[in-house]
């Protein structure tokens, strides 16, 4: 294996590692910050309702069927909408009917965020392709790229 192949392979691994690291970071609590309470059992955590609040009336959220990103998950999820207090719009929540894996939870996070953007703005904000200069093939760069690619599917949602 020549040097370029080695760097390419290291970058590939780093990209996967970046996404994995981001996933792990969601479960890390900075010492002393947000560490006061119990930690969810993984089964409970996976089964929780995941919710976004959408600044639209409930009828606009599910009146004419679910937004496409959520509809695409079909019967695998259950969805509920609730008027949010204080004129904040509608709470749009969803969870899997069974116990989902990490990838499925990622799908749901991305779908909820996209649904919210479609309802509030009418489109989902894109960021790629963007102008950029030469990207050196470094493990840090690849890890960051992996993390950024995974970011729409990660987070505490």
């Amino acid at each position: 294996m020549d040097l370029n192949q080695l760097i390419g392979r290291a970058s590939g691994l780093a990209g996967g590692a970046g996404a994995a690291l981001l996933k792990q970071l969601q479960h890390v609590r900075v010492p002393g910050a947000g560490q006061a309470s119990a930690t969810d059992d993984p089964e409970v955590a996976a089964r929780r309702w995941r919710a976004v609040t959408v600044l639209r009336e409930p009828a606009d959220v599910d009146g004419a069927g679910l937004p496409a990103p959520l509809a695409a998950l079909g019967d695998r999820i259950e969805v509920r909408t609730t008027p949010a207090p204080g004129d904040r719009g509608t709470e749009l929540a969803a969870r899997y009917r069974g116990t989902p894996g990490e990838d499925e939870i990622g799908d749901l996070r991305a779908a909820l965020r996209e649904a919210k953007a479609l309802l509030e703005v009418g489109e989902v904000l894109r960021v790629d392709p963007q102008p950029h200069g030469t990207r050196a093939a470094t493990p840090h760069g690849a890890a960051l790229e992996g993390a950024a690619k995974a970011a729409p599917r990660e987070g505490v949602l």
């Binding site: 719009g89 703005v121 960051l144």
Partner: protein, 391 residues
């Protein structure tokens, strides 16, 4: 096109990169006329915010001319001369409707990175790392501006490019700090940091009716700018005890409003300065919060402290006891510029808000590496380097 890219810790270069394109219906493409360095760029440059990818285009404070308009844009036309806020906000979510634009729910396509860090994700920012959305920055011949109807503002004819440029961030950030800290007529306001944002926070406090305004820094040329162009009083922390000085000048009360405009790489004197430097270099803390600590200690009982400087993570030796027992209001934010820019441009048009003096070093985009070096090292009295992408 030519653009300024981050190529490594404390390294930038000017490269030929692809032109930006319209990606969303509400985008415009701007031909950049002026774009400037901001102190918060230094945290990116220095690797303190480790979410920069080699080749990322820097820059978030800019103005220019609209050259292309997406099909969903209502109010912008080709040829409009506009100044754009550094934060990207949709204008439609609950936060935007509360005029808390930098908290926009739909402005950061990478929410997973900052949600883990902070519990929720703020909006996106031009040229400010993949943690803040991964948007290409403005140090380029052209830049894509998402949500252009919300984030771009027509520059009145009587306002020059040089003046309008700073409405993008320095003035709107400073104004927000003075306003959201609750500055009222008759108040005494102290501002830590005499960079562009600190100077403009002081000027905004004066326009909001503050009776006494003090600015704290150590650089003589910046303190002189405060005296001459802002009209506020100055305190040099390298030669005097700031808290004692403020007590003496405020009848023992302390300032009603304290605004921190320094951020995570604060300089300070004595043991505290060394302690924070060592901890930050060892990566035991991400931020050096010495100005925030001093602002909390100096503030009058029941007063208000606003953090405008950029911070990223947890800090220690934070005087929480002082904040609690003195009944302080502690607040911070990235810039909700869209809320203030119309008013700021009116003040600029009337000559009540001048910013040209901040642009101490104006140069072609090709000289950006030199510009950033001068800005970082505060060489030759550099307050801001301004780049002209089209000469």
């Amino acid at each position: 096109m030519r653009a300024v890219t981050w190529t490594g810790v404390n390294e930038v270069s000017v490269e030929t990169v692809p032109d930006p394109t319209i990606l969303n219906a509400r985008d415009v493409i701007l031909r950049v006329r002026r774009t400037t360095t901001c102190g918060s760029d230094l945290h990116l440059l220095g690797g303190y915010i480790p979410a920069m990818r080699t080749g990322d285009v820097l820059g978030h404070e800019f103005m220019g001319e609209v050259v292309e308009v997406g099909p969903g844009v209502r109010d912008r036309r080709v040829g409009d001369r506009v100044v754009v806020n550094s934060f990207i906000a949709c204008g439609a979510c609950w936060y935007c409707r509360q005029e808390l634009y930098s908290l926009c729910d739909n402005g950061n396509p990478n929410p997973g990175i900052t949600e883990g860090l902070w519990g929720q994700s703020p909006g996106g920012c031009f040229g400010y790392s993949h943690a803040m959305g991964g948007f290409a920055g403005s140090h380029a011949e052209y830049v894509r501006v998402p949500y252009a109807d919300v984030g771009s503002f027509l520059v009145p004819e009587e306002v020059s490019d040089d003046r309008a440029l700073f409405a993008s961030d320095a003035v709107s950030t400073g104004w927000m700090g003075a306003d959201l800290a609750g500055t009222k007529p008759g108040d005494t306001v102290a501002v830590w940091g005499a960079g562009g944002v600190g100077q403009m926070a002081a000027r905004a406090a004066m326009l909001l009716g503050a009776e006494q305004v003090y600015v704290v820094d150590r650089l003589p040329e910046r303190l002189e700018q405060v005296r001459r162009h802002v009209g506020a009083e100055v305190i040099d922390y390298s030669t005097t005890d700031v808290m004692a000085e403020l007590r003496e000048r405020t009848g023992g009360r302390g300032p009603d409003v304290c605004i921190e405009a320094v951020g995570m790489e604060a300089h300070s004197t004595g043991v505290q300065g060394v302690y924070d430097q060592v901890k930050q270099q060892l990566r035991l803390q991400t931020d050096r919060p010495s100005a925030v600590r001093e602002a909390i200690m100096a503030c009058r009982k029941g007063g208000s402290v606003f953090v405008l400087g950029v911070f990223a993570g947890p800090v220690d030796k934070f005087p929480l006891g002082a904040a609690m027992n003195k009944g302080l209001t502690l607040r911070g934010a990235q810039v909700h510029g869209q809320r203030y820019m119309p008013r700021i441009l009116e003040h600029m048009a009337r000559g009540e808000l001048t910013t040209e003096h901040l642009a101490t070093h104006v140069m072609p985009l090709e000289d950006a590496a030199r510009g950033y070096r001068m800005f970082k090292d505060k060489e030759d009295g550099c307050v801001r380097a301004v780049f002209l992408p089209h000469g």
